[in-house]
Chain length 247, copies 2
């Protein structure tokens, strides 16, 4: 499918708004994704208001895309709507546990990928924001997410103002295991990373970061020791606060 193989994350956007008709089509594509038992235990929060995007901006570490792209979409695990419906029907909901966070998160992410692809098929650019889980506590406050709802991932979307090359990827043999998991030897690892380590993308990164190899860019610059632990605690606390840890 051309859209899948042509995907690039877009980090510069024109200020042109996205029409309501286009937005609706894209969001509808999201809801056609597979989901847990057709219970649709997720919600999609679409934020276009500039004042609200300004409040979301620090939650995404001030990445300029949040203000530049006209649409910010936060995908949430949501057992609240389903539980409320159950109670109205004399059915006993029991979704305030970790299993249902996982189901809701899977539903939310499947929907987000449909939204991303449908957006791209309609000439828009997208970028996923991994910062969503790091600052989930603050996003909950900005978007007023009640108990039973937790943010999982965020997409910005708008018309692209850049045309980047396809990103490097590891070769398929580095990701796919046949029949069962085949553990990696050091020689495997060397072979899997060889092309990426030699790529122009990597050469540029090493120069900008003044570091001897790509791995250290990840461990020393991008995802620094300590942050991982701190973010883990934030998100686990959020799961407790939003009512997903009653087991």
């Amino acid at each position: 499918m051309k859209t899948i193989f042509g995907h690039r994350s877009i980090r510069k956007y024109k200020s042109d708004p996205v029409s309501e008709a286009t937005l609706e089509k894209i969001l509808l594509a999201g809801t056609r994704a597979s989901n847990t038992g057709n219970m649709q235990v997720y919600s999609i929060v679409v934020t276009t208001d500039a004042a609200l995007r300004e409040k979301l901006s620090p939650c995404h570490f001030g990445q300029p895309m949040v203000m530049q792209a006209p649409v910010v979409i936060t995908f949430c695990a949501d057992v609240r709507r389903f539980s409320q419906w159950c109670r109205l029907r004399g059915a006993e909901p029991e979704y305030d546990n970790f299993q249902w966070f996982v189901c809701g998160a899977i539903d939310a992410v499947l929907a987000s990928q449909n939204v991303a692809l449908e957006a791209e098929a309609n000439g828009l650019g997208i970028c996923f924001l991994g910062t969503t889980t790091y600052t989930a506590d603050r996003i909950i406050d900005v978007l007023q997410l009640p108990t039973g709802v937790v943010p999982v991932t965020t997409l910005v979307l708008g018309y692209p103002d850049e045309n980047p090359s396809l990103a490097d990827r590891l070769p398929l043999a580095g990701i796919v295991h046949r029949e069962i998991y085949r553990d990696y030897t050091d020689a495997n690892i060397e072979r899997i990373w060889e092309a990426r380590e030699a790529s122009d993308e990597t050469k540029n990164l090493l120069e900008v970061n003044q570091l001897p190899n790509l791995a250290q860019i990840f461990t020393l610059r991008r995802y620094k020791g300590g942050d991982n632990i701190a973010f883990s605690r934030v998100y686990l606390n959020v799961l407790k606060r939003q009512g997903f840890m009653n087991q």
Copy 2:
């Protein structure tokens, strides 16, 4: 995009195998999905061997699709490959925590949706198996997943031997919130579920299950009280056992 709007989960498959060329194209589509920091912290285990699928079958509650469809694909969060590469490069990996389970799970699910759509675009049918997290401990044993690797979701795929109608979905206004989260009133909930509760799909389900409403089919038959808690504990234990809870 036609493929997105035409998606149906397929539960009956022909025995025709999927060619290597088609399989490779579909898997490659998976790796083009967005992922956390382009670290690709996920793995894809493709199981076609009948004896192995027979071992996976009880992990998926004996659903006939696992033996009927020629390909079973288990998508896993995987920080093992990345961590091993870091160590070979004198970089200190710190991915043995909850945050990186979440990142890996998001990567795995984004890839799975690309695989599903590319499969459908090539004439195949797919079905996601939510049972993956319920029996993750046993799937780990069958697929020999080492520390740093945890199964998140599973797809079966093959050539469809049925042509079901589009599944019911809640209306867009039931899933999408504009600007911030707008909490549901009881009247909202009634309106959101009205069409699904009146649909032929629901009428059939009520007759088969001999229950007064759709909500009770979910709480009394499909996801029974107690199971949710038990499955939550299984998966949290699995995360500990596979090394994702060191924070």
